[in-house]
Symmetry: C2
Subunit: 360 residues, 2 copies
């Protein structure tokens, strides 16, 4: 029996014993909000600071209490049979729970989030998977998966996909890795990824390319995290030069987000560095730009005012001020002004040589 299963059974056992002893059973779980979060760069991610709420069985909590136990039971079954269920499927499963059924999926998601926080593991380890996947991989990496029938190792060589790529599955907990790469390059857009794959940039640079396709999904973040941790690989982020790239993509990748602090420790990539496009790159490379819109300006000002990550790194605060004063943003594709492969022949090699131009 694995540790997660033991913990589920242990919690259920406590409830059962309390009932036999004619005491009120109770479930304790961390509060999930920004008020329960701190940022310490030594830890590397937004961290819950330990405030808990207790869900005690009363007349008013009886339905949620029953739903939590029924969801624990589903999780137990999934772990035992090595199966998976999407959040949406779990909602539909509840249609057979009689009066405990969920009327809308947000109710079901909330109970799942509470259960996940209570267990202190990411919900993929409980058998629950998100709807969306996302994340493509190419380069110096062999992924070791298991054949579900024979149980044998399956080695997937990411140098052998030609113009295609390996698509990251929704759950990545079971994957293992072999690699001699020097770093992971995490790329915002599918178009830039395709260019680097087409020209086998991963071979020239000795790296692993990962396409995030915008804000990385849970599976993509977890994959990068597990790979970088297992193989001690630094992660360099290459996004558009705008606040969306800096904060929504890079900051989420590196330290996580505020509203899901209980899982940041599984998903964040604390050793990630921001390679570019930086505001200084816009000046140094004389990039074609677009003017910042009001909403961009607001996003930048908000980051300076409210984001603990920006508060911690003065380099980021300065960079955001610089971008606001430029009043401009630039995209990864803007290097095409010089030559389609300028990014491969000049920009990336120059940046890799000079890490002083990066942001933390």
């Amino acid at each position: 029996m694995n540790d997660v299963l033991k913990k589920v059974m242990g919690i259920a056992d406590d409830v059962y014993k309390k009932i036999l002893a004619k005491k009120n059973p109770s479930l304790s779980m961390p509060i999930r909000s920004l008020q329960n979060v701190s940022y310490d760069p030594k830890v590397g991610f937004f961290e819950a600071i330990g405030k808990c709420k207790a869900r005690t069985l009363t007349a008013s909590t009886v339905k949620t209490f029953a739903q939590t136990l029924l969801m624990m039971n589903e999780s137990k079954k999934l772990i035992k049979t090595d199966d998976i269920a999407t959040k949406r499927e779990v909602y539909y499963i509840s249609k057979n729970w009689g009066e405990a059924l969920f009327r809308e999926q947000p109710e079901s998601d909330t109970v799942m989030d509470d259960f996940e926080a209570m267990m202190e593991v990411n919900r993929e380890q409980l058998g629950f998977i998100p709807e969306e996947k996302g994340g493509e991989v190419a380069g110096n990496l062999v992924i070791i998966d298991k054949d579900v029938e024979s149980g044998k190792d399956l080695k997937i060589d990411c140098t052998k996909f030609g113009s295609g790529a390996y698509s990251i599955p929704i759950s990545v907990e079971h994957l293992k890795f072999e690699t001699d790469a020097k770093f992971i390059l995490a790329i915002e857009t599918a178009g830039m990824f395709q260019r680097l794959v087409k020209h086998k940039y991963w071979k020239k640079a000795g790296c692993i390319l990962i396409s995030m396709g915008g804000v990385p999904t849970r599976a993509c973040r977890r994959f990068i995290r597990r790979l970088s941790e297992a193989k001690k690989l630094p992660v360099y982020a290459f996004t558009d030069g705008d606040f969306y790239g800096y904060m929504n993509i890079y900051r989420t990748l590196k330290v996580g987000s505020g509203n899901a602090a209980h899982i940041n420790k599984f998903f964040c990539v604390p050793n990630a560095k921001f390679l570019g496009v930086t505001p200084q790159d816009i000046i140094d490379y004389k990039l074609p730009t677009h003017p910042l819109k009001d909403v961009d300006v607001k996003r930048g000002k908000d980051a300076i005012k409210n984001d603990p990550f920006v508060h911690h790194y003065k380099e980021w605060e300065r960079a955001i001020h610089l971008q606001l004063s430029l009043g401009k943003r630039a995209e990864q594709q803007a290097f095409a002004k010089y030559d389609l492969n300028f990014v491969i022949d000049k920009y990336l090699p120059d940046k890799l040589k000079n890490q002083k131009t990066w942001l933390p």
Copy 2:
């Protein structure tokens, strides 16, 4: 020199000769609108009916004329060097065209669409690729790509990815295929795809699984089309039971869309059939449902009123009427009500045995 390159050079040559002969050069291209479209099921897709516009060099057209020629020149270079450029990159390249530069990307996209229509090939053959990729593959299929350095064949075996999958590249023109599969199952959601992959459904059913992730991208549609054509494989679509699944996903996959008629012949999959979820399935399988919203009802009524595809297939017209009278929609995941793997053990096998329950 390949045929596309010859055609580009031929058009350029005509313009050049006209100029030498002191005549006004002119470019002729199909009109791109619903008014220039017809649907014939023998053809299988929305088809341009041949109305053309001529772009003659005058004082008022000089800039667009120059841009078209410059874009033809970029395409020539891309084809010759076997390189690619995203629509966004092409827009940035124009920043070096002096007065002929594009101010906004929509201008650039329009010239590209005209050029594509003029050439009567899909723009991927001109070296221009979309920004977004999308589409995952698992199952009984070997994809043959080429190594860009050695030029040697690369065989990619889609039975050997474990829980992962092959990610379709942005351009698929060069791929070849080997397979003994009996059909292609094109699936709407990544979650359902992951379930079928996890349980190796492709092996049980002898098929190829393709995840469309909502409305399929150009690359995904072209991949399915090329694979089904090359290997004479039927394509079965499995989407949510709603108008978005029927029209935006399935109808686009099968016959294409109205606003891009000049490329439908490359992207549509005329032999596709709709396996489910049908409105009748909602009744027969007593599926959990959601009420239709006003916008859903409008979409259904619009399809009956305006869609040449629905006009042609009375079965679809009846199905849409049925769904409107039910006032409900159902999702692929709704089968989880019975059992997580009901869809694998019961629904898909039953449907495959009884094609009378499908829609055309």
